[in-house]
């Protein structure tokens, strides 16, 4: 099934958000909804970056603290924190961030590839950069960030 059409390859639609003092964005098509922070039930012996699970209309959905996941420490607790519910493969996962601030439509040509990390063991969580006057917006690779990505995501 050929999916590439002129218009599709020309722009990327993204939801931009801020957390850990940096700007990020994710593909808008993977965003299911955006919710206020709500209490998450802790999971035993879970990695630091897993806040717990919440009840989303009957389904149990894990919440990942993006800041912690990227090694920038836990997101400070605040009522204004936001959970971005994303669909990844067959799973629904929530990402905890500080604030959503924009919806972008960025021409493919503007997006720069992520810097080469050389021989580091680390796997890049970012698969693109959007330069802006006041910094850059990192495009997050959800498959890398969410621990249990489905194989449907290439």
């Amino acid at each position: 099934m050929q999916v590439s059409s002129q218009s599709q390859s020309q722009h990327r639609e993204l939801v931009a958000f801020r957390t850990a003092d940096q700007d990020f964005s994710v593909d808008i098509m993977s965003v299911r909804e955006i919710r206020m922070w709500s209490h998450a039930t802790k999971l035993p012996n879970a990695p630091e970056y897993v806040c717990g699970v919440i009840n989303l209309r009957g389904a149990v959905v894990p919440i990942i603290d993006l800041s912690a996941r990227l090694g920038s420490g836990d997101t400070p607790t605040s009522d204004r924190n936001v959970i971005i519910i994303i669909g990844i493969g067959s799973k629904t996962v929530g990402i905890l961030v500080e604030a959503v601030f924009d919806i972008l439509s960025v021409p493919q040509s503007e997006i720069q590839p992520p810097p080469d990390l050389g021989g580091e063991k680390g796997v890049a969580a970012i698969d693109g950069l959007i330069p802006r006057d006041d910094g850059m917006i990192r495009i997050v690779n959800l498959g890398r960030v969410v621990p249990i990505a489905d194989s449907l995501v290439n």
Partner: protein
């Protein structure tokens, strides 16, 4: 997507009538006999809208609405009160706890169906 309706009433006759009317309108219907049963029903059947009576044992209509409004994950669920009562204080109370609207019994099938279609996506 078919609209899923949860209908709560302690009268068997009422439940039968609601079932017939709502199924006839092409909705998916689940029934419960009081507020408490309604709440447990919601754990397995996710309604798009709830129609509930006021006077019921265990958990009455107002208490049910209050309980649902207190649950973050059911935010925005439309709840219609179905009642014979027309007292103003009751309506104010219903509004205060967050009921979406009310239909008076004996209910006009068409009105109920229209109201449901208007309120539920």
């Amino acid at each position: 997507m078919t609209i899923r309706v949860l209908a709560i009433d302690d009268s068997r006759t009422m439940r039968d009538m609601l079932y017939r009317a709502l199924m006839g309108a092409g909705f998916e219907v689940e029934l419960a006999e009081d507020g408490e049963a309604g709440l447990s029903c919601m754990e397995v059947f996710t309604p798009d809208i709830v129609v509930t009576d006021l006077n019921m044992p265990n958990l009455n209509g107002l208490q049910y609405v209050e309980a649902v409004r207190g649950m973050a994950n059911w935010r925005g669920l439309p709840i219609l009160i179905l009642t014979t009562e027309s007292a103003a204080e009751l309506k104010a109370e219903a509004r205060r706890v967050g009921a979406t609207g009310w239909i008076v019994k004996p209910f006009d099938e068409e009105k109920l169906v229209t109201a449901i279609r208007r309120l539920a996506a």
